[in-house]
């Protein structure tokens, strides 16, 4: 039996990887994927804790998160397409019309 801490640490590592990807990647789609990675880290945490606490709720929450992530992907990709149409580029450094 694998102890719970292994799962939690793995999830934490995934979450931090997501945060790092969000901060350092320059491609919009990759940034979006980093956010999805963060959400999946949360899902892993939920499932592990739910198994550990013998509470089924946690597993149901994962479904909610997945559905919301799917809706977010639909909206997000549409937004990315409109940005791409204006700029012909997916580099976030080019998205700089408004600055201080």
């Amino acid at each position: 039996m694998v102890p719970i801490s292994y799962f939690l640490v793995l999830a934490a590592i995934l979450f931090v990887l997501g945060v790092a990807g969000f901060l350092f990647k320059r491609n919009i789609v990759t940034i979006f994927m980093s956010i999805e990675l963060m959400l999946n880290a949360v899902n892993l945490t939920f499932v592990a804790l739910s198994y550990h606490l013998r509470e089924l709720n946690g597993q149901i929450f994962v479904f909610f998160v997945m559905v919301v992530a799917a809706a977010e992907a639909a909206v997000g990709l549409a937004i990315i397409i409109t940005v791409f149409k204006h700029r012909e580029s997916l580099n976030v450094d080019n998205v700089d019309l408004m600055k201080l």
């Binding site: 949360v42 804790l49 909206v75 409109t82 940005v83 998205v95 408004m98």
Partner: protein
Amino acid sequence: MQPSDAIAILPEIILTAAGILVMLLGAFFEKSERIAAGATYAGLIAAIIAVAVQFNHPVAAFGGVFLADSFGCFFRLLFLLIALLVVLSSSTYLHREGLSAAEYYALLLFGTVGMGVMASANELILVFIGLEISSLASYVLVGFRRDVPTSSEASLKYFLLGSFATAFFLYGVALMFGSTGSTRLTQINEAFNTALRGQSAGTPVHPAAANLAVSTQFPASLVGVAIALMFVGLAFKVSAAPFQIWTPDVYQGAPTPVTAFLSTAPKAAAFAAFLRIFMVGLGAYSGRWSWLLWIVAVLSMFLGNLGALLQANIKRMLAYSAIAHAGYVLVAFTTHSADGVAAVLYYLVAYAFMNIGAFLVVTHLGGRGERYLEIEDYAGLGFRFPFLAGMFSIFLLSLIGVPLTAGFLGKFYVFRAAIHGDLVWLTVLGVLNSGIAAYYYLRVLVSMYMSAPAREVPCEPLRAPERLALAISVVGTLYLGLFPQNVMDLATQAAQWLQQAR
């Protein structure tokens, strides 16, 4: 689902049905603007009635997951009122910019549903669902002028940073679930109280004290991390510094009526969730988070006000001022007393009226394609359009916090609560900031009344819906400044309800 559950979420059902209807009308009718607007008004008014009826009959629906109490109803009424004002002020704008009215109204309605859910949720997952419903609608609304590069850019920034913050919030929820075995706010509170009582009595918490007691297998720091993560997510949504980076860009790029909406409704909804989670769920740990609020409040006030000083674009200036106003609200929140919560609610209502009014004038003067948004364009406005300039002056004076306006009493209640809560330094810094803020609002006033026009700014006459929205905003601003008692009573009632729930 029992009948009483359906009654508790009746406003949300009405709004969803109205939203779907509006979308269908948009799909099937060529000239759908008027019909869609009519259906939207009908839905909003029906929902307002449904909430008003519930006000004095608190219901815990769906096994206590959804609380239609006076706190939730206060906020839902506020959201519906804001949505109504925004719909009234957008019809001319949509026509002028050639945007599809039906989709716009439907998104506003769906967004309002999400906010209503957030304000009434007694369950962290439901807060998350509500947050996402309202956020997804607002991401699209921000990018509604698809042909304009700044609009889609604002939408992208809002979407990426918004989802980033949501992921933080969600991770906090997961860890909170891990440390207490529940995501129900009242149960989390119970678990903490049990754990704290166990500590103070000198007996360690029994490891097998059901799922609810704080599990001793997890270090107490896990609770701290969970609180911090949820705090980051929510602070982002209320655009508090240092999580405010997105605010100026998004508010500048969004269509102006949408900016008016964003700066009031989703922010109020985030505050509602913030208050409920921290006051009810984490009330026992107030020592751990009130200093965080202190820092964030001070930072928001300073960054917002100092940033606004440098702006030449009026929308961007109002965006920075929105950050500062979030700071004032956080001052009241820092007290975590019933007084403070009532002040938060009062301030949010006052801010809604004056800010929507100000943005309405900005929308109208912006002209086709939002060309006239520089502060220079407001030069000489007082002579050319005395009525509009007069209205704008009232809103700006209220944003400064001049007596007889809503803004003054809002600040008064906030700082009074802070003094009662022994937050003397925070009050001093807050009052100092109101002084800084006066400068950039007065700059606009001075340029309106004391300088010659820099360039010719055309201005069409106001249409009927805009007039009505303007009248409601002005009357609301002055009413709240002169007769605060009725609204303050409701706010106090809602705040006490929140205190009881602990």
